[in-house]
């Protein structure tokens, strides 16, 4: 088959052209959670429609769950109401729900892949912008709003206009201390937070080829922060190996056939792209955001921008962001004091993320003024980490070890910033107010960088910090 992965999957799922010119696209997997669906189910009920494909719909509860205890009823009455509504809707329509007692609960973008629900060649929709995460498996995965959730529930289809494909190649070896998170932050830094509007991002190159599935998920996760509704990596042997034996993946003889089909979705070598950009992995440093959107970042060894050096249009937003963050133009990124550390989220709440962070904190203590939290992305991740003893490593260092959920990524549960606290966070959004306090300040970085910041009490360069600290404590 010729063309890009985007073209191949789009064509396989296109039902027809709608009168307004959009395409009616079949949705192969619909993932739902408690925040963006209750209104959709109500709209469905109002029109007396049923759920068309309950067996292609899977639910979890992630955004509102408290992470200190998941005991029901939740202390927060509204959270309990939302959980109850989801349970009722799933029961009424026969939709499988991965809730706390199931042992498979977690952030929707963490559990889809780990259960093997996410498979190459699928179209995947979810009422959540970070649905782009699932593109790591070579899928067309995109976020939708509540009215479109209603559409998918009712018809298993959405109305969508096709996207153009931008190929983003990253080649070479990442330096030690530089992670997938830094790669995507560097991409967004250069292409901008709206540079991806109208595009699907195809991530390729030797760096991506060498990445684990979890690393690819981190990259694809933040496509939306660059304005791209979808991001994907072509399926390869790494993809196939990850899926083998997963609960919802095809088994035995079916698996062989499925694997061959999966690989056939990869963009053909002669595919044409609307645009191409490339990066040299070796030039990417640990990257930290200093502002109020994910494009406002610098390498940890750089200084903050000086608005006076910028043109009119950019100057205003840089000035505004610096003022909100209470940072001075031109000061170094390293050394900014932090109050809170958050390790978790659908970007960096997987087992490999926790391992990377644990490797930094092992045998050390967080700075005395710090509050630090580790929130596994799913119950699976939590159990895996506990089996390896990572929970102990974090606890001994002074971190709180929590249950699975979105937690302080968007603070719809009790985990939040207070006042103008500064949070080193492994999540994906540093928008004003994102972590629960209207004046709270978020610095996005990799889990290893968050871990190092927690120990130092300020932003430090994870590449050099450990050795410096040992020298000083001698």
């Amino acid at each position: 088959m010729a063309g890009t992965l985007f073209d191949k999957i789009w064509d396989a799922h296109a039902v027809r052209r709608l009168p307004n010119g959009q395409t009616q696209l079949y949705v192969g997997l619909h993932l739902i959670h408690e925040v963006t669906t209750p209104q959709a189910f109500d709209m469905l009920a109002a029109r007396e429609w049923r759920v068309r494909a309950p067996h292609r719909t899977f639910a979890t509860i992630d955004h509102i769950v408290p992470t200190d205890t998941q005991d029901r009823p939740f202390v927060d009455v509204m959270a309990e109401t939302m959980a109850t509504a989801l349970e009722r809707n799933c029961r009424t329509h026969g939709i499988p729900l991965f809730d706390g007692p199931s042992g498979a609960q977690g952030i929707v973008h963490v559990i889809g892949p780990e259960l093997g629900l996410t498979q190459p060649g699928m179209t995947i929709a979810c009422g959540d912008s970070h649905t782009s995460t699932h593109g790591a498996f070579g899928t067309l995965a995109f976020g939708i709003g509540t009215s479109q959730v209603r559409d998918v529930l009712a018809s298993q289809c959405v109305a969508l206009s096709p996207l153009r494909v931008r190929r983003i190649e990253v080649n070479g070896e990442l330096s030690p201390g530089v992670y997938a998170k830094d790669v995507i932050l560097a991409i967004i830094r250069r292409l901008g937070v709206s540079g991806g509007t109208g595009f699907a991002y195809e991530y390729a190159g030797t760096t991506l080829a060498g990445m684990s599935m979890e690393e690819r998920m981190t990259v694809c996760n933040m496509s939306i922060e660059g304005g791209a509704r979808m991001g994907y990596v072509n399926p390869d042997a790494t993809t196939v190996a990850y899926l083998a034996g997963r609960r919802f993946a095809p088994q035995d003889a079916d698996f062989e056939a499925a694997a061959a089909r999966w690989l056939s979705f990869a963009s053909s070598p002669d595919a044409t792209y609307a645009d191409r950009v490339s990066y040299d992995a070796g030039s990417i440093a640990p990257t930290v955001t200093w502002g109020t959107h994910p494009g406002q970042s610098v390498g940890v060894d750089e200084t903050l921008p000086d608005p006076r050096a910028l043109d009119e249009s950019e100057r205003r937003s840089v000035e505004e962001a610096l003022a909100f963050m209470q940072f001075r133009a031109g000061e170094p990124m390293a050394g900014r004091r932090v109050d809170v550390a958050f390790i978790g989220s659908c970007t960096n709440g997987r087992i490999s993320d926790l391992r990377e962070a644990a490797a930094v904190v092992r045998g050390r203590r967080i700075a005395p003024h710090m509050r630090a939290l580790v929130v596994p992305g799913s119950q699976h991740v939590q159990r895996a980490a506990e089996t390896e003893g990572l929970d102990e490593v974090f606890r001994e260092a002074g971190f709180e070890w929590r249950g699975a959920g979105c937690s302080m990524c968007l603070a719809m549960n009790p985990d939040r910033l207070h006042g103008d606290e500064v949070c080193a966070s492994s999540s994906n959004r540093n928008f004003k107010g994102r972590q629960g306090s209207p004046t709270g300040r978020t610095l996005l970085m990799s889990p290893a960088m968050v871990a190092a910041a927690a120990l130092a009490g300020e932003v430090v360069d994870v590449r050099t910090w450990a050795s410096t600290e040992e020298r000083e404590s001698r």
């Binding site: 009616q24 912008s129 709003g145």
Partner: protein
């Protein structure tokens, strides 16, 4: 919400300056803790408005002439970030029927289309001129004409606007609430289902 034809919207406008205004700012997450969209308009830009008050300023939504406005004029990448439909829902319920900006984030524009909130774009220069004119005369009325693809302030020449062809067709035909369309001739959907092997081979382990 019944689908109806939308050709032209006239009304007073609110100017909201700033690039990359994300949906977390339009509707902070704590107000997503609800099972309906009702009453969301009360929380529209609530933190930005409080922050302005804290600095002794008045947020554009809080100036007296903002009440009853139907059009919001913004800069680039409006509605970025979270896919929460709560954001366009709150704008719509507040009374806005058109958002005119230099550019939009994609999911926001899609969500708006689904609920009858018209998103149109104009060039940076024309947006800047409009903003200035509106700020000098906050009572002025704007007309956004979707058929003619123009915007005009009372008494001044038309300026060009644009919107995706699919959205324009949807507004002018009244077919912007697409669920009904998606359910029509469902045998075509079943034909697609029949050709997708993964729908048949989904086996699961206990």
């Amino acid at each position: 919400m019944a689908s109806s034809v939308i050709e032209r919207v006239t009304g007073r406008a609110v100017v909201l300056r700033g690039a990359d205004i994300d949906t977390d700012r339009i509707m902070p997450a704590r107000f997503l803790k609800a099972v309906s969209f009702e009453g969301l308009e009360r929380h529209l830009f609530v933190d930005d408005r409080a922050a302005a008050r804290g600095r002794g300023k008045t947020h554009p939504l809080d100036v007296p002439s903002a009440a009853g406005s139907r059009i919001l004029v913004c800069n680039t990448n409006f509605g970025s970030g979270s896919s929460r439909e709560h954001a366009p829902q709150a704008l719509f319920r507040w009374g806005f029927r058109v958002i005119l900006a230099e550019s939009f984030a994609e999911i926001f524009a899609g969500n708006s289309l689904a609920i009858g909130l018209v998103c149109v774009t104009a060039s940076p220069g024309n947006v800047a001129n409009l903003m200035e004119a509106l700020e000098q005369n906050s009572g002025a009325s704007l007309t956004v004409d979707i058929r003619a693809e123009t915007v005009s302030i009372a008494g001044q020449p038309d300026l060009p606007i644009s919107l995706p062809a699919a959205s324009r067709r949807a507004w002018l035909s009244g077919e912007w609430d697409v669920t009904g369309l998606l359910l029509e001739d469902y045998f075509e959907v079943e034909r697609v289902e029949a050709r997708l092997p993964y729908l048949r081979t989904t086996s699961r382990k206990a």
